[in-house]
Structures are given as C-alpha cells and as structure tokens.
Symmetry: C2
Amino acid sequence: MQIAIGLYPGFTALDAIGPYQVLSQLPGATVVFTAVKAGLLRDDTVLTVQIDTTIDQIPNPDIIVIPGGMATRKLLGGDPLVDWVRAVHPTTTWTTSVCTGSLVLAAAGLLPGLKATTHWAAADQLEALGATYTADRVVRQGKIYTAAGVSSGIDMALTLAAEIAGPMVAQAIQLGIEYDPQPPFDSGSPEKADPAVRELIRSLLSAGSARALAD
Amino acid sequence: MQIAIGLYPGFTALDAIGPYQVLSQLPGATVVFTAVKAGLLRDDTVLTVQIDTTIDQIPNPDIIVIPGGMATRKLLGGDPLVDWVRAVHPTTTWTTSVCTGSLVLAAAGLLPGLKATTHWAAADQLEALGATYTADRVVRQGKIYTAAGVSSGIDMALTLAAEIAGPMVAQAIQLGIEYDPQPPFDSGSPEKADPAVRELIRSLLSAGSARALAD
C-alpha cells in the first residue's frame, strides 16, 4: 500500500504531518513524500524537507494526500502537481486532501458538484472551483476524503485508517499517538470562536502576517 | 523571540510539527530547527529534514522544544543534545518537551523531584530518571512545560501561546489551524481505550513494529 503525500513549496507542515503520523502506522503501508522536483523543498515557514522521489516516479499510488497552504493558489492555474492528481486519481484507492489541498483536487477536476471541505476561510474559493463547500470536519464522497483546516487531517486520517484496517487498528493508532485532545480553548471553528478572535485572525490573514493560518 | 526545536535522528514528526505550527505564529517569533549536526536528518519513518543551524550556534534560545521518539533512549546515556538542554535551560524563558522528549529534559537534570508527563507507555522510564510522572496532558512546573504523547504538543503549545501572547492570540492561532478536534473514536488515552485496543498497541510496541507509536 503506497501512500504518496504530494508536497509543493509553501505547503503547511501540520496539514501533511498529521495524516503522515497516522497513516504511516497502518500495517503494510509505505509512505513517500513526493513533489514535482527532487531536492530540498520548504514549507510556508522554515521547515525544509528532502524530496527523493518525484511525482513522475509515482504513477500508481494507492492513496494520495494533498496538504494545504497559501501557496496552493499558485498551483490552481496549472501545475504538474495538479496534472499528477488528475492522472493518478482514477486508479487510487483513496484520494484525500487537508485544508486548501482540496482546491488542488478541485482544480484537477475531481470535485464537480461534489460535497467537499477546506479551511473555513477558503470556502468561497472551493465553491468557485465547482465543489459544494460543506462545513464538516471530514467529508467523504466515494473514495475522496477532504478535511477542513490544518489540524483536521488527523481526524480524517484516523477515519480513513478505520476504513482501511478496521476500527481496532485505528483506535490503537489513536492511542499510540495519545490523541486525546484537550485544547485550552474552544475556539477552533468560526462558530465557536469569540467574534473578536474571528476579527483578529481575519485581520492577520488579510495582512498576510499570519503566513500559515489560512492554509 | 527565538524558538529552537531540538531534533535528533529518529524523532517523531508530529511531536515537533504540532508545536511548530502553533508557536511559529506568535508575533515576533523566529523558529529554528536545530540538531547536533548540520545536514539531512531523518525522523523515525521517512521524513527527512534539512538542518542548517547546529545547537552550537544557538547558545541563548528563548524557548526550546524537545520532541519525543523511540530514539530518545539512545540519548539518555550522554549526548551533545542533552548537554545543550542542560546548558541553555538556565537562560531560557520556557523549556518544553513533547512525549518522550521529557526523558531528555530529565537526563539533563532538569526534572529532579518535579512533576512531569510523557507518553503513557514511558511513565516508568520518566520516573527512573527522577521525575514524578503525572498523567495530565500538559504539566507545568515553573518555566518547564512537558506534554504527553505525540499529539499533545498542540495542546501544550496553545497553552504556552496564551502565556506568552495572551488568550486572544492563542485562540486566533487555534482558529487559524482550525483546531476543533473531532476524533472518530474516544481511544486516545489508556483509561479511555478499550482493553483490547490497549493490548493491541502494547503488543505492537513490544514487537517494535509500530515504530513511532511509543514516542
């Protein structure tokens, strides 16, 4: 079971690493980080990862995971990563995204008229690409899973792990990563956050000073 | 505000990336991934990151974050990373760990008689190093924060973010990463998990076939 996580310069790290930490524990799984070019690739802040395997070398992944990032917007007009998603999707077992990674899936033509999710601040962009934005944390349509913003990839991956290996294995992985979340605040969604908090993050996002937060 | 995330070969990725995703959004924060040697460094699975700045080049970090990993056990007998933690701790503003990263703090002599946490499966090891294991998700003792297993670093970092920049900023960061966790199961702690799930993960851990799960 080959799981390919498709990166690009400017991706948001937690979008990729959340699912990676879960899915790499699946029995029989082989995970590979891939991108258009081999060599060093930087996320949206200071994390630099080494890519050894290009997307050209992965013609038949069983599962793909596309993380989000502000930089997804640069891919939407046409990019080899979008072409790869379009090319491999017919033969994947599961095609997945986190955050604005769903914009890449949409740009590849995978989501016409389908329900999908993304970061709450990118809902309009997802709809503009032909999908129907759904404010759920994890949305499944056939073999496509889309997850909401950044941290939601952990929930998506555990859901997928249960589909693939059964609920016992998924729960064991959850216990292994001690995923018993206890956020100090209840402000993780626009509906729950204080209006002043919403305004604060919106102003940071529009000022471009919170690089990763919109991803 | 320099935030140094101290890596070593075999670290667990989510331990490091959870806090990174939160703390890098703090106003005025500069995050650096550091290690004993410059160059490529691999986690416990297939993620390879580039290290540009060695610990020798970071004598006065404001905040340190030490992630966990099975490989922490190799450091405990003596390692430059442990020496660095011991050397910089007196002048840090905050000294933090995730998962078995607390074993490194303990090996550096930072936790004698203090309450601390770690991955639930490593409680005995933490106690053997002189700390008092506490089964809370985030434990603060003065300027030291320890977090429980793997995913708990997100909760720790949000708590720390509120200490540093106030609850409004912490809540904005939480909303930015859409951290509104909805795990598909409630099996994230030994107390909550089904006994059969506990046995499954324990057998995987003891067989060494679940590389990252004990970290």
